[in-house]
Symmetry: C2
Subunit: 283 residues, 2 copies
């Protein structure tokens, strides 16, 4: 009575949360769903955040795994990380109404890959072969295109005389420059394009800087979001206890015992309302 | 009497001596001088070997420093390492007869630099800024072209958004790939061309391999020949005593005391007769 507990401060990292491409995708889809009142189908989750996908379902936006699940006359949404060219072609053949919210930075890599292939370059994509973004780029890069997750992967690759390197937008600069270097040592001509999105590196740098100044870090975002998982990984590498949560409900009071400063950051697909709720809950 | 001294073996490295470009230059000039009997003038030494230049003088081939020293009606020889574009233009304006023995590999780099400049790339030349070959490439690469001797030099350079890297034909692969990597980290697009001449790297590899198997190394070639000096440097780095000579006259018996195997190699501008004379003298 009369005594107050220690004051705990919550610091939100700069550049936490939505990137341009995700915000644009969500705004477009919500706007279309509400004003036109049409049934919409996204090919896979629109963005990698289950809570956002749930909200969209309330507005009549359903997730489908395959184009065949979209009924004739339906509206199909191509998600922010893009789709393979064959999917886009098939949607057009079926005469479906298409809402394409592919992130402009991703679309740029897709177009670049197609152009380079046309100019007779063997296209090398630095990225995660299983990621939707990479599959979309790959589908436009020609039959001799390759995906590597890092420069070491190149050892087993057969390279042509003219090789062009592009990167998944969420790669690190170091992985990109090392890949270009390795290719340079093995071909006559290498052409490298730094297609890494600034938002990702800025978010990562800001999170690591913040982590060094706090006692506990909370990273908010979908468990299916690769960039959120990477963010948590980078923060925990600073040695500060780090917890990856999807929603405020997962917060455990015991994490904050003795802590004075709590740092909060969030992946590119985490909406502001989830970040704000987490901040409120901690306080 | 009756006893024989220890047998000394002389090993000549693979790929020692003349490279394709040098041999071609010399053959062309000697052929022209002898058959046409014309007074010929080379802009600087035809190749970086004083003994060869002396022999050419006997055939009426003189070395001049400047185009103005060539009399009207004279034949001017553009040497194997190439000349700046302005020199070529001026020779044509003066109506001089031109014998262009620029090495085809060097000419390829010159043309590439010009093409890349036309395609709006900033051209970055990895090489020795003072070397005639580099000055010739530079003169075709546009006003914003740069020369760096290694990747560290790049720190002070202002780079554009599209940068193309070419290498002096005698550079090492490592210096080239590191330069491309560094540029990749600082521009949107990097384009790298491995313009390094195979002859150089093959000669260097063969010399180092040989050095590891002998007691003394003799490197024969002009003291003004950069690639010969580099060859001597590489051999002495193996820890084996290494001597750089221009002619057999410089050989000192004391170098071979206790030695059983003597290794011999020579720069790209060293003629066979000088190598053979050195081998004879050692034996």
């Amino acid at each position: 009575m009369g005594s107050t507990g220690p004051v705990m401060e919550v610091i939100i990292a700069k550049s936490a949360g939505f990137c341009y491409g995700v915000r644009r995708a969500l705004d477009t889809v919500m706007e279309t769903a509400r004003t036109e009142g049409k049934r919409m189908y996204t090919l896979g989750p629109l963005i990698h955040n289950p809570q956002v996908v749930e909200r969209l379902a309330e507005d009549g936006v359903r997730v489908v795994k395959d184009l065949d699940e979209v009924p004739s006359g339906g509206v199909v949404v191509m998600p922010s990380h893009g789709v393979p060219k064959s999917v886009m072609d098939r949607a057009q053949e079926r005469g479906l109404e298409i809402v394409d919210v592919t992130c402009p930075f991703v679309a740029k890599v897709q177009n670049l890959a197609a152009e380079l292939h046309e100019q007779s370059y063997q296209v090398l994509i630095l990225g995660d072969a299983g990621h939707t973004e990479v599959r979309g780029i790959m589908s436009r890069a020609g039959d001799d295109a390759l995906v590597v997750s890092d420069a070491d992967d190149l050892e087993l690759c057969k390279l042509g005389r003219k090789v062009a390197v592009v990167a998944q937008t969420t790669q690190t600069l170091e992985a990109y420059t090392t890949t270009v270097q390795t290719v340079a040592g093995r071909t006559y001509e290498v052409r490298g394009f730094n297609t890494i999105c600034h938002a990702t590196s800025e978010r990562q740098t800001a999170a690591v800087e913040m982590a060094q100044d706090v006692d506990v870090v909370i990273v908010v975002g979908g468990r299916n979001s690769a960039n959120t998982r990477r963010l948590a990984e980078l923060c925990s590498m600073t040695g500060v206890p780090t917890h990856h949560i999807e929603t405020a409900d997962e917060i455990d009071e015991s994490w904050f015992e003795g802590a004075k400063k709590i740092g909060l950051t969030a992946g590119a697909s985490t909406p502001d309302w989830i970040i704000e709720e987490a901040a409120r809950r901690i306080s």
